[in-house]
């Protein structure tokens, strides 16, 4: 038989929900020992809490759905599809491709005043047109320099310790189209690989090519070695442009 009066239900609920201080909780425990009716209510509250917790607990054991992950990380499935001109065929041989770091392009001027140095492998001068373009241009947006040069970033790829950007330079005066990859792992860009062919042999002026398409095969060994992932979606790339490229 329960002793009267019973304790206020909001206090019993606060006890069941762990809201009380140790001293307050101890007082409730003492009360419950003499009031089985209240003890039943507290037991019911705790059982209901546990039932609710279990009833909706499955998501805690499941992987994050890819669709939600894509929304957050900006990696939609279409991220690999980027609009750009059909890439030129790679002129370096397979043997040379294995030692890409040794390849040096000595072709026409790169997206720069005529006085600028030719595109070469190695660090990009801070403040140069190429550095500015790599830091600030989104993929797929052509940048025209003068009447005969055009520069465009083709894609941004995450690598294990930074980012790489593929770019192309069309030099109509020299009738060359050049493809390069520059990477940033600390605070400055480094041109890691370049390729070139005559513009007249490069095929169409525009088109859609997947980043993993045949035109990329010559770059794959290099990108694989860097652990490059799928090209970033525009939103993720825009964040990097806005916030800097620090890995």
């Amino acid at each position: 038989m329960s002793a009267k009066p019973t304790m206020d239900r909001s206090r019993l609920a606060a006890f069941a929900d762990g809201e009380l201080s140790p001293e307050e909780a101890a007082a409730v425990v003492m009360h419950l020992a003499d009031h089985p009716e209240d003890q039943v209510y507290v037991d019911n509250l705790m059982a209901a809490n546990e039932a609710l917790l279990q009833a909706f607990s499955d998501p805690m054991e499941e992987p994050v759905p890819q669709a939600i992950k894509n929304v957050i990380l900006g990696e939609p499935k279409t991220a690999d599809i980027i609009p750009f001109r059909k890439r030129p065929a790679v002129w370096i041989s397979t043997a040379v491709a294995a030692t890409l770091a040794l390849v040096v392009f000595t072709g026409p001027d790169l997206f720069a005043p005529a006085s600028a140095p030719n595109l070469t492998l190695g660090p990009v001068d801070t403040g140069s047109n190429l550095a500015v373009a790599l830091n600030s241009l989104p993929s797929g947006v052509p940048e025209v320099a003068g009447t005969d040069q055009e520069f465009m970033i083709l894609a941004t790829l995450p690598i294990s310790d930074g980012y790489c950007r593929e770019f192309e330079v069309i030099n109509r005066a020299a009738q060359r189209i050049n493809l390069g990859i520059a990477c940033i792992t600390s605070d400055s860009w480094v041109v890691e690989v370049t390729m070139s062919e005559p513009l007249s042999a490069s095929g169409t002026d525009d088109g859609f090519v997947t980043a993993s398409g045949a035109e990329m095969q010559g770059l794959m060994p290099f990108l694989d070695r860097l652990g490059a992932g799928a090209s970033l979606a525009p939103a993720a790339e825009a964040d990097l442009i806005e916030n800097g490229w620090t890995p």
Binding site: L52, A55, F56, D58, P65, A67, I72, L73
Partner: protein
Amino acid sequence: MTDRFRKDLVALVPKLRRFALSLAGNQPDADDLVQSACVKALKNADQFREGTHMDSWMYRIIQTLWIDDRRRAKTRGAPVDPELAGLSDEGRSARLPEDRMMLDMARSAMGALPEKQRIVLSLVAVEGLSYKEAADVLEVPVGTVMSRLSRARDALLPQLGMAKGPMQ
């Protein structure tokens, strides 16, 4: 927006899906809700204050979106479908038939609660927030949280075959 923000948000998704499931009553709607909430959070990332609880911020976004959706739909919401209620094994993982029955009853009872009571009960009983934390999420006084909880339990306990407590 930092990469850290995005990573923290991804890490939070399981809890957000659980909270959304307790509101929506089925996983597809819950995932739509979480996805919409994430989009909103990313758009308003500059409003998130570093060092504050991201989970509370996201709970607030989710419950706001859920209520907005419900108002737009002008319905009481689809009844909880046990086969869609988030248990891919339809509750078979619960060891005993009584356990499965209890889970089904808990989901149905939750789905029958008014919106505000469902939200506060989920925050406290499912997400484990304190009354103060729940009050902060909902931007209401702690007393309001307690009264909504009390009404929610008055309705819930009988649905679970339990007495709703001693008469006051």
